[in-house]
C-alpha cells in the first residue's frame, strides 16, 4: 500500500475499528479459551462479577455503584454525580463497539473497582451478561 493511503487509513482508523459487541465477545472468548480450553462465556458469571461487592474502593465498591443494578438503565458517577449512559448494548447502541474504548474502560474500572486487571474470561462473561435482555 502506498504510504499516503496508509496514513489516511490510520487517521480514520477509529471509525474502521468499529466492531459489534458480538465480535468483541468472540475475541475475548477466544483469548480465554487459549488459557482455559473449552471456555464458553457465561452470562451468569458475568452477572455475578457485575454485582459482586469488591469493596476495593470506598466510593465505588461494585460496578453497580455507578451503573445501577440494571445495566440497561442509565447510571450516575458515584464520585462526580455525572450521568452515565446505559451499559447494555440493547439500551445504548454505542456500547462495546470500539475496542480501544472497551480496553481503556476495562483497564480503568477493573483496577479501580475490582482491584486488579480482569482476565479475558471475565471480560467475555461480562459482555455475555450485557448482551442478555432481562
Amino acid at each position: 500500500m502506498k504510504r499516503p493511503v496508509l496514513i489516511a487509513l490510520l487517521l480514520v482508523s477509529p471509525a474502521l475499528h468499529a466492531e459489534t459487541p458480538r465480535q468483541l465477545l468472540d475475541t475475548f472468548s477466544a483469548e480465554a479459551a487459549r488459557a482455559q480450553p473449552g471456555f464458553a462465556p457465561s452470562a451468569q458469571r458475568g452477572a455475578a462479577l457485575y454485582r459482586s461487592a469488591f469493596k476495593h474502593s470506598r466510593a465505588m465498591p461494585a460496578c453497580t455503584a455507578c451503573h445501577t443494578d440494571n445495566p440497561a438503565a442509565p447510571g450516575r458517577h458515584a464520585v462526580t454525580g455525572k450521568a452515565i449512559g446505559a451499559l447494555a448494548p440493547h439500551a445504548n447502541a454505542e456500547r462495546f463497539t470500539d475496542p480501544a474504548k472497551v480496553a481503556k474502560w476495562f483497564h480503568r474500572n477493573c483496577t479501580e473497582v475490582v482491584g486488579r486487571e480482569c482476565s479475558a474470561a471475565e471480560k467475555a462473561d461480562f459482555i455475555q451478561f450485557m448482551l442478555e435482555r432481562s
Partner: protein
C-alpha cells in the same frame, strides 16, 4: 549589579500554583476515584493560565509579554550562548524562556478547553485522546523549562528557581518593579477557586 525586585507576587504565586495544580491533575488523570480532584485541579490550572495571559498585558514590566517576548532569532542566539558559555544575562525572562511561557500558556488553554469539553461529553472519545496529547505536550514543555532553568541558573550563577520564590533577581535599579502587587495576588485566589468550581460543575 544590584539585587532588585523583578517578579511581582501574582506572577510568583501563579507560577507555583500552576505547577502544583498541573502535578495534581497529572497524577489523578487516569483515575475515576480521583476524577473530581482531577477536574478541580484542571479548572484551577486553566484559571491561572487565563489570569497569567491577562497579567501579561496589565501586569508589572517583567511580567508583560511586550517586555519579554522577542523574535525567534533572539531565542536561538540565547540558546547558542548557553552552549558556548557566553549567554547574556537578562533581568526578567530570557528570550528562550519567553517561548516556553508562550507555549505553556497556549497549550494550557488548549488543555483546559479540551478537558472541559471531554468532561461535558461534548465530543467523542477522540476528545479525551486530544486532551491527553495536549497534556503530554505541556509536560514536554515543562521538562524543557526545567532544563532551561537549571542551565540558565548555572550559566548566570543565579538561582532562578529561588528568584521565582522571592521575586528578587540581579539587575540595575532602574529595571526594578515598584511593588509586589499583593492586591492582585489576593484576587487570584478566589478567581482560581471560581475556575475550579466552574470546571467541575
Amino acid at each position: 549589579m544590584d539585587r532588585i525586585r523583578v517578579w511581582d507576587l501574582p506572577t510568583r504565586l501563579g507560577h507555583w500554583l500552576l505547577a502544583a495544580t498541573f502535578l495534581v491533575a497529572w497524577v489523578t488523570g487516569d483515575s475515576e476515584t480521583w476524577r473530581l480532584v482531577h477536574v478541580l485541579a484542571g479548572g484551577a490550572f486553566t484559571g491561572i493560565v487565563a489570569f497569567r495571559v491577562l497579567w501579561g498585558i496589565v501586569g508589572t514590566r517583567h511580567a508583560r509579554f511586550t517586555h519579554f517576548v522577542r523574535g525567534p532569532g533572539a531565542a536561538l542566539a540565547y540558546l547558542r550562548g548557553l552552549l558556548t558559555g557566553r549567554a547574556p544575562h537578562f533581568t526578567g525572562h530570557n528570550p528562550a524562556g519567553a517561548y516556553a511561557v508562550l507555549a505553556l500558556l497556549s497549550l494550557g488553554l488548549l488543555a483546559g478547553a479540551s478537558g472541559w469539553l471531554a468532561y461535558q461529553e461534548l465530543g467523542g472519545e477522540w476528545l479525551e485522546e486530544l486532551h491527553e496529547g495536549v497534556v503530554n505536550a505541556v509536560l514536554a514543555v515543562v521538562l524543557l523549562h526545567l532544563a532551561g532553568v537549571a542551565l540558565g541558573s548555572l550559566a548566570h550563577g543565579e538561582n532562578l528557581a529561588r528568584a521565582m520564590v522571592t521575586g528578587w533577581k540581579r539587575g540595575t535599579p532602574g529595571e526594578a518593579i515598584s511593588g509586589s502587587r499583593w492586591p492582585a495576588a489576593l484576587l487570584l485566589l478566589p478567581w482560581v477557586a471560581l475556575a475550579a468550581w466552574w470546571m467541575a460543575r
